[in-house]
């Protein structure tokens, strides 16, 4: 399991030097030579030596498939830790098409190097879904399909992080009719720990938080039944929403920008999906606590939930029947069924009186007779 992710497997520079039979003095000599080589003042020697002695930063390969890159964008918006600190101090982001300097085969080579050098040690992050339609040609990088790349990179990964709704549940491109057969990661890779971090995108600090958890505690965060870290996905937005008192009081925004909206009433009736959405928005909020959808007057659209594009419309509370067109919702069907039932029962009642006339009259006769014959 992940707990074994520690220094033992991947030696630090110092350990490597030591193993080759050099002592600490040799090592320091090597360090000062190297610092001189890259033009560092002497005072920095100690620092460099420390950097080399401490464990290597966790290598990370971050793949991009069918995505909109909002997950990467959200990641760089993290305020604590800031992304520069993550990149320089916490992990070694050896491959990500969005930020890496190298292009083309040099980029591919960077990924290969990490896969070889840190076999079984690197974290694989995946942003985007994998199209399984038409043999995978709907997403190709360097002439390979995304599936080929994913399988290769997953093979020796320590653990996998599925960023965002795309990688965890297929997101918008997997909405009906899912023309490219966009598929989330857990359906393609088995036998590896997969951490799902859904959301479209996930909150930047949540993404950074998952990384920090891995690096700082050397273990996979505790996951819920759907594979999401409990630290961020254990509560419904509805249960952490500051508008909840209005919900409980029965005070709702009836239409956008009405008087109730100005007063900050609950957005339930204009389609808020907070009651069925697990995310940290109500607690952590977005962009370093600036706001979150509900605070800015729009209902939660359920962006971290599986299939949220097809399970009902944005502004309707009524649950619609996916696949029956947008007008059809369960209650309309129910009302029609109720009407039909009522009519059928009325028909049945009429028929009963006609077809079972004999039976009924004989019962009636019997009753009348008794009434008639009884003295009191």
């Amino acid at each position: 399991m992940f707990n074994e992710l520690d220094q033992t497997k991947q030696p630090t520079y110092y350990e490597e030097v030591e193993r080759k039979g050099y002592n600490r003095r040799d090592f320091l000599q090597f360090v000062s030579m190297m610092t001189a080589f890259i033009g560092l003042e002497n005072s920095a020697v100690g620092q460099v030596a420390k950097a080399l002695e401490t464990k290597p930063r966790v290598p990370v390969i971050w793949l991009h498939f069918q995505e909109c890159t909002c997950c990467s964008e959200s990641f760089i918006r993290s305020s604590h830790p800031m992304v520069a600190d993550i990149l320089l101090d916490k992990i070694s982001l050896d491959y990500t098409e969005t930020l890496m300097a190298a292009s083309g085969f040099q980029a591919e080579e960077a990924m290969q190097n990490t896969m070889k050098k840190y076999k079984g040690e690197y974290i694989l992050c995946v942003e985007g879904s994998v199209p399984m339609g038409a043999d995978g040609v709907y997403c190709m990088i360097g002439g390979k399909t995304s599936l080929q790349i994913l399988q290769e990179a997953a093979e020796n990964a320590k653990a996998i992080i599925a960023w965002g709704s795309c990688a965890s549940n297929g997101c918008v491109q997997a909405a009906k009719p899912n023309p490219t057969k966009a598929t989330p990661i857990h359906k393609l890779i088995k036998g590896k720990p997969i951490i799902k971090v859904p959301g479209c995108p996930p909150i930047g600090e949540v993404m950074a938080g998952v990384i920090v958890h891995l690096v700082a505690f050397d273990r996979i965060p505790e996951l819920d039944a759907l594979g999401r870290p409990k630290a961020f996905y254990s509560k419904r937005v509805h249960d952490t929403c500051y508008r909840r008192p209005f919900y409980d009081a029965g005070l709702y925004v009836e239409s956008f920008d009405d008087e109730n909206a100005k007063k900050g009433y609950c957005l339930y009736k204009v389609g808020c999906k907070g009651p069925t959405t697990y995310n940290a928005c109500g607690v952590m909020k977005w962009n370093n606590g600036t706001s979150f959808p509900i605070q800015s007057g729009h209902g939660c659209i359920g962006c971290s939930e599986e299939n949220y594009w097809d399970n009902g419309r944005l502004y309707e509370r009524a649950s619609s029947f996916a696949g029956f067109g947008i007008e059809a919702n369960a209650d309309d069907f129910g009302k029609v069924a109720l009407g039909v039932t009522g009519a059928a029962l009325a028909g049945h009642a009429v028929m009963t009186n006609i077809r079972k006339k004999k039976l009924i009259t004989s019962l009636e006769d019997e009753g009348k007779q008794s009434e008639h014959e009884l003295k009191s």
């Binding site: 759907l226 009081a249 009651p275 697990y278 039976l359 019997e366």
Partner: protein
């Protein structure tokens, strides 16, 4: 005068629904009605206006509280009925609900022909419920199950007690709360339709048979003609063992 009396059947009083079954039945009916009303309100709340502070009001909170209290009553009552299916009298036995024999199915068909298609034929007399009714109740039990699973599944995230928590696995089966809640909502319609048809049919049977069908859920008694027993004319979906 005397002769006329002879035309009248001698009725035998049969204790069909034991007290626990009657309690169960009405508790169940009340809980379901409460759940449907509050469920509707949860799905589409009324447009209320108030000058009061939100914290002074708990309208929707009460609706949910009632839903959850009714849900617990409904759930335990349901469990109790399952238990009573094994220890209760023969009319309460689980055998009367589950079509395990050819005879059961044949009888359902017979009842269907007489009650629904209204084909002419010999009157079909059951002392407990008839085969078709039994089977419909069997289906309602499945609906009860679906409703309890999805309901407590949704509730698991809010409650702290271990009991609802035991249902925490349910939403993930449907990929999350969204679909779980929709299923919970859709299957409410099954309850509504059942209740309407069921009440109608109870009245219907009382009306055309005159054996005290409606009151039987009150006092427990049905009134069956002596000849029916003498001629062995009554039916039962499955032969009781006891």
């Amino acid at each position: 005068m005397k002769t006329k009396y002879l035309h009248v059947h001698r009725l035998r009083r049969v204790y069909v629904w034991e007290l626990p079954v009657r309690y169960y039945h009405w508790l169940n009916a009340l809980a379901i009605i409460a759940l449907i009303i509050t469920g509707f309100l949860i799905a589409s709340p009324l447009a209320l206006q108030s000058r009061e502070e939100a914290t002074m009001r708990f309208t929707m909170g009460w609706v949910r509280v009632i839903h959850f209290i009714a849900a617990y009553i409904f759930f335990f009552n349901f469990l109790f009925r399952l238990y009573w299916g094994f220890v209760g009298n023969k009319y309460a036995s689980w055998r009367q609900f589950i079509p395990t024999s050819k005879k059961f199915i044949k009888e359902m068909w017979t009842v269907f022909k007489i009650d629904i298609l209204m084909l002419r034929g010999k009157e079909h007399i059951s002392v407990g419920h008839n085969a078709m009714a039994g089977f419909i109740y069997f289906l309602t039990f499945w609906a009860f199950l679906v409703q309890c699973l999805t309901g407590f599944g949704l509730y698991a995230a809010m409650g702290t007690w271990w009991l609802p928590k035991m249902f925490a696995w349910v939403p993930p089966v449907f990929g999350g709360d969204i679909l779980t809640r929709q299923i919970h909502h859709w299957s409410m319609w099954f309850f509504i339709l059942f209740a309407v048809i069921h009440v109608y049919l109870v009245f219907y049977h009382d009306y055309i048979e005159g054996r005290g069908e409606i009151s039987s859920m009150g006092g427990g008694w049905k009134f069956i003609e002596e000849e029916v027993f003498q001629d062995e004319e009554h039916h039962t979906p499955n032969k009781p063992t006891n």
